[in-house]
């Protein structure tokens, strides 16, 4: 497939020929040789530490650079104009295709993600994030010869929870605890009812429920607007269908 623009451990430059015209292949290759000598260094140093976030960032930087570099000579080519005739379809827009040595046969090769004898799910998630980002910025043609069938459900549920849910849960629990402590103190100072007695009171329990729900649903100021819009949205279609019946009632009035 097309060249991968970065590689963490291997020290050789990928030389698989792209399926485009030889001229551009050459130009792209020269850029490849120019850039990675220095960024490759960066990558190999960072790859050794465990901060997956940092690796992704540095790797992404090199990726963006090289993508732009290879796009520059092609910009001239594509300015011929996508006049919309697929007869001229081959290579109207030459942008680097997504490639990664761990992306094999339309899915991620989990064997290449092993770390300490177990699969490094965080790295799989990072790799998929990068692939989606790449394709979102530069959509590619879907091909029958190289079908993509990666399914995110192969990544086990606990990996998702550990990576995404736990930090958020920590934040929310922290907020709930802070609010709870402050409210308990406030109510105690105003009414003299201690914490244990507060928990027995119905009104306090209601307040507690409201604040828990509030913390869960509303995390930013924008969330209030979003919630209002969502509620309106759920009934909007029904109202459009009912419109003809409102008309019936109003015509019956006169």
């Amino acid at each position: 497939m097309s060249m991968a623009l970065f590689s963490s451990p291997p020290t050789h430059h990928p030389t698989s020929p792209p399926s485009l015209s030889p001229k551009t292949h050459l130009t792209r290759k020269t850029f490849l040789y120019l850039k990675p000598t220095k960024s490759h260094f960066l990558v190999s140093i960072k790859a050794t530490d465990n901060g997956s976030g940092a690796t992704v960032a540095s790797v992404a930087a090199t990726v963006e650079e090289e993508k732009k570099a290879s796009e520059a000579p092609d910009a001239a080519g594509s300015s011929l104009g996508p006049n919309g005739s697929p007869a001229a379809a081959p290579a109207v827009k030459e942008v680097a295709q997504f490639g990664d040595p761990r992306w094999v046969g339309g899915t991620w090769d989990l064997n290449q993600f092993r770390k300490d004898g177990k699969t490094d799910w965080d790295a799989v998630i990072d790799a998929e994030v990068r692939r989606r980002k790449w394709l979102e910025d530069d959509p590619e043609s879907s091909s029958n010869e190289n079908p993509v069938f990666f399914d995110t459900s192969i990544i086990p549920w606990w990996a998702w929870i550990k990576r995404f849910h736990l930090p958020e849960a920590e934040r929310l629990n922290g907020r709930a605890a802070m609010i709870g402590f402050f409210m308990a103190y406030l109510v105690d100072s105003l009414t003299g009812v201690g914490l244990v007695d507060q928990m027995g009171n119905f009104f306090c329990k209601t307040l507690l429920f409201v604040s828990v729900v509030g913390v869960l649903l509303i995390r930013k100021n924008e969330d209030i607007e979003t919630l209002k819009k969502l509620v309106e949205e759920t009934t909007f279609y029904d109202k459009q269908w009912q419109a003809t019946w409102q008309d019936e009632n109003s015509s019956k009035k006169d």
Binding site: S85, R132, S142, N144, W245
Partner: protein, 466 residues
């Protein structure tokens, strides 16, 4: 899955029934609703002639309506402006339509038994493994289908007129008890008048507006507007080896690049493919979306030549008023296109038939004048039968066409066999069948899981950008 939707629907009807009891209305009509009296019993008899009905528009809706009316003994005229009209259309009909409308199998160009859903990151999922050997989605050419239905209506006794409907004179009082006719003005084309046509008028008792998304009948009765999507399509003739791939397969591409609120498609036609896309919110960018759709299908349509470019509006929801006096709207004119899939042919034909049936019943085979209440029965029956289908598709569109992560989750869910079975069952037979509750629960959990995962990945994507 269907039961909450059904519950809400009953809720819709509850309000109107309550209103009947509280508002002071003419006793005749209360009698209708409370004792379910056969409609039209109080209408004056039409003397010396049969009820005259004009169907404006000769597409699937008009053709089906005209046939049912003519068979019911009603004097029917069908006005169609272009007898060989090639409506730009996906052309997909569900299996039930073939049975319900007795369509001959040679009308169907292709039987699609496989569909490929392609996500924004090109994850491709094949659906159709759960289809039984006799099940398929029929691909038709509109000019063939429309002509067939019109010819059948003519054979049943309807008068098919080649004419362009201009406007309609609404009688001063079209309320119950009146029988003043509607006067339709149209330009008639025949061998005598040549291309320019000749202004003609015709008087009828009832009008069915089946004239499509830009309905003039709807305008005449002040039916109001709807939001609409623009569907843009290019017919592309591709080399025969590539055409083999599309032998009985249709593709659906989703992604922000292809459409912000709809999908791009490659549908096989008789000897070429139709590649298109649509949008409601970003109509100005439709060419850009079309280019992106072609780009995504590039490898599969390489070497193809565009033979035709076409576009058409697709209604997104029913018009505020679908009925006024003795004029009813059906099909696209009423706005009966589903969300999510944008399907309209079957619903057009079915609504045409239902409206015609209500007229036949209300007029007792053409002996009595109908009134608005009789036509309302068609609306009632329609809403009751198909509301769950429309609502479910609306919910699906709202959930899964929102954003790229939602679309990725959508394609992931399509890989599930239970989803495929439910989807095809409801599409092919137009029923929302509640499946096994345990499976439904599993499906709900999986859907939420997919959505959560895709959105989590999306948040990470935002972090690495910029």
């Amino acid at each position: 899955m269907a039961s909450p939707a059904l519950k809400t629907f009953v809720g819709l009807r509850h309000t109107t029934v309550e209103n009947h009891h509280t508002k002071p209305i003419s006793t005749k009509l209360t009698t209708h609703k409370r004792f379910v009296v056969k409609a039209g019993k109080f209408s004056p008899k039409v003397t010396g002639r049969n009820l005259r009905v004009a169907v404006v528009g000769g597409g699937p809706a008009g053709g089906a309506a005209a046939e049912t009316l003519a068979k019911g003994g009603i004097e029917t005229i069908l006005i169609e402006r272009k007898m060989d009209n090639c409506k730009p259309c996906g052309g997909a009909i569900p299996l039930c339509m073939v049975g319900e409308f007795d369509l001959p199998l040679d009308i169907i160009d292709r039987r699609v038994t496989k569909m490929k859903m392609i996500s924004p990151s090109n994850v491709a999922v094949d659906i159709g493994q759960t289809l039984k050997p006799h099940e398929y989605i029929g691909m038709v050419r509109r000019e063939v289908l429309d002509a067939y239905l019109r010819d059948r209506a003519a054979a049943a006794g309807a008068t098919v007129i080649n004419g362009l409907f201009l406007k309609m004179d609404v009688p001063k009082s079209a309320g119950p008890g009146s029988d003043s006719p509607y006067v339709l003005h149209y330009t008639g084309y025949d061998t005598k008048t040549g291309g320019a046509g000749e202004r003609r008028t015709v008087e009828v008792d009832v009008v069915i507006g089946a004239d499509g998304a830009n309905s003039r009948v709807a305008k005449s009765i002040g039916a109001g507007d709807y939001e609409y999507a623009i569907a843009f399509q290019e017919r592309i003739k591709i080399p025969s080896d590539k055409m083999e791939y599309y032998e009985n397969l249709a593709e659906m591409y989703v992604g922000d690049d292809v459409s912000p609120d709809f999908y791009g498609w490659v549908f096989p036609k008789s000897d070429h493919v139709a590649v298109g896309t649509g949008t409601v919110t970003h109509k100005g960018d439709i060419k850009k979306f079309q280019f992106a759709t072609r780009h995504r299908a590039r490898d599969k349509i390489l070497g193809g030549k565009i033979i035709r470019v076409e576009a058409h509006p697709i209604p997104e929801h029913p018009r505020p008023k679908r009925l006024s006096g003795r004029v009813a709207l059906v099909g696209d004119a009423a706005g009966y296109v589903t969300k999510c899939s944008g399907e309209g042919i079957y619903f057009a034909a079915k609504s045409g038939r239902m409206c015609a049936e209500a007229i036949v019943e209300g007029s007792e085979n053409g002996k009595r004048m109908v009134e608005e209440g009789d036509l309302r029965k068609y609306l009632e029956k329609w809403d009751k039968t198909y509301w769950p289908t429309y609502k479910v598709l609306d919910v699906l569109q709202k959930v899964f066409y929102r954003s790229n992560p939602a679309r990725e989750a959508f394609v992931e869910m399509c890989a599930d066999e239970y989803v495929q079975k439910m989807t095809f069952d409801s599409y092919l037979y137009k029923r929302v069948v509640p499946g096994n509750p345990l499976d439904d629960l599993k499906l709900a959990v999986n859907t939420i899981g997919s959505l959560v995962r895709a959105n989590a990945l999306r948040r990470e994507m935002e972090k690495i950008s910029v």
